[in-house]
Amino acid sequence: MRKHEIELIIALAEGSLEDETEARALIESSEKARSEYVAQKTALDALASVPPAELTDIEKAALHRDIWTALSARPAVTQKATPWHSRWSYVAAGLFVVVGLVAVLSTDAFSGDDGAVESLGSSQDSPAGTTLASAGADEGVEAPSIAVESAADSEAAAADPLLDFFREHASQVRSGQFSSAFSATGNDRGSIASQNSACLSRADLDDYEALGEITFDEAGSYGLNPDSLYLVAVPTDVSLDESTPVAFVELLTCALVHIEE
C-alpha cells in the first residue's frame, strides 16, 4: 500500500479526518485497506480501555525516601571497578619494556624494525584513542586493545569484564543483532549517526558513525560501573561483517575507550 493510503487509514481509525469520504472509499474498494483499518481500529479500541496508572501515596513516599537516600549517600567521585585509564598505564609500561628489550637485543634496532619504532612513536604522539586504530594497522604489532598487555597480565586480561563486554557487543554489531534503546537500523542509521557525530569527532573518529548507545544498566550487568554509558560506532558506510572494527566511546567524556578489531 502507498504511504498516503496508510496515513488515510490511520487517520480514519483515529477519528481525526474532517472529511472521511476518500478514506471510506479506499477501505470499501480494497480488501487490504479494509483489513488494515480493522486492525488499527481494533487496537485503538482495546487501548482506549487502559486506565491511568498512578502511584499510591505510600509508594510515592517510599520512592522519594529511597531515591533521596541514594542520592545523598552517593560519593563525590565514582570510582570505576577497573578504570580503563589505569589499564592504559600498564599497556604503555608494557610497550616501553618490550620495545626497550627489542632495541637492546636486536642488532637492527634503529635501521630495521620500523614497525615497532613507529608504533611507539604513534603511541607517544597520538591520543590513546587513535593509537588503538593506528597501531592495529602496523605490521607485526598486535592491536594494543585493552586485552593486549604484557604476558603476565594476559590471563587477567582474558577475564577482564570490560573486555568481555566490548567483545560481546562488537560481535552483536557485526552480526546485525545489536539492539539497544537507541540502536539504529535501516532508515534510522542516519539520524542516530548525525545526533552523535560531534562526540565521535571529539574522539577522533570522524570517519566513524554511531549505531547506538549501550546503557548504564547493560554495563552494570557485567559488574562494571553502572553509570557507564558507551556510544557504539563503526566506520561510515560500511557493511557489517566479521572484520568490521567496532569502536566504543565513553559518552560522558567522548573519549575513545576501545576499538574491537
Binding site: 499510591t56 509508594e59 533521596w68 534503546a181 532508515n187 544498566d217 553509570d227
Partner: protein
C-alpha cells in the same frame, strides 16, 4: 524563562541538595514515569523498580541535561531505556513471576492495582510486542503523547515513530484476534 530552562534550574538545585526542588520535580513527573514503566513492564513491582532507577539516573546525569528538550521528554527517554534494559535482563535470566508484594500497611495499594489493571488478553498482547513497538504504543496510544513528542522521547524520526505505532497496533490486533479465536 522556558519550561526547559526552568527544569534546568530545578535540576541544578537538586544537584546542590535542595530537597524542595527534588520534591517539586518528582511531583510533576513521577506518576507519568510510573505509568510508562508499568505499561512497558506489565508488572507493578518491576515498574516501581524501573521508576526508582529512572529517577536515580536522571538526577545523577542531570549535568547532561542541556535543555534542548523538556525534562519530561528527557526523563521519559531514560524510563523507556531503563525498561528495555530490565526486559533484556529478564530475557537472559528468566525467573518465575513473583506474586504481587503489596505493603500490608498500604491498603490503597490493592485498590491501585485493581484500578490500573487491564484485561488479561490485552496485557498479554502488549507483552507479546517487541519492545520498540510496545514503547511506541505506550507513549502514543496509552500516554497520549503526540507523535513528534513521542519520537523525540525515543530519539527516532517522526516517520519511524509513525511506522512503529502502525505496525505495533497491527501486531496487537493480530494477537487479540488470535486470542479470541482460541
Amino acid at each position: 524563562m522556558t519550561t526547559a530552562a526552568k527544569d534546568a534550574v530545578l535540576l541544578a538545585r537538586v544537584a546542590e541538595g535542595d530537597h524542595e526542588a527534588f520534591t517539586e520535580v518528582m511531583k510533576v513527573h513521577e506518576d507519568r514515569v510510573f505509568s510508562v514503566c508499568l505499561r512497558i513492564m506489565g508488572d507493578r513491582e518491576k515498574a516501581l523498580d524501573a521508576t526508582q532507577e529512572t529517577f536515580l539516573t536522571a538526577f545523577r546525569k542531570a549535568h547532561q541535561f542541556e535543555g534542548k528538550s523538556t525534562f519530561g521528554t528527557w526523563v521519559y527517554r531514560i524510563a523507556v531505556n531503563t525498561c528495555y534494559d530490565q526486559l533484556r535482563k529478564q530475557k537472559r535470566h528468566p525467573s518465575e513471576p513473583m506474586p504481587e508484594h503489596l505493603d500490608p500497611a498500604d491498603h490503597s495499594a490493592h485498590e491501585a492495582v485493581e484500578a490500573a489493571a487491564i484485561r488479561p488478553e490485552l496485557q498479554a498482547a502488549l507483552a507479546s510486542l517487541p519492545p520498540e513497538f510496545r514503547s511506541a504504543i505506550v507513549l502514543s496510544d496509552i500516554e497520549g503523547m503526540s507523535l513528534p513528542d513521542a519520537a523525540q522521547t525515543l530519539g527516532v524520526p517522526v516517520g519511524t515513530m509513525k511506522s512503529r505505532v502502525f505496525r505495533g497496533r497491527r501486531l496487537l490486533a493480530q494477537h487479540l484476534g488470535n486470542q479470541n479465536a482460541i
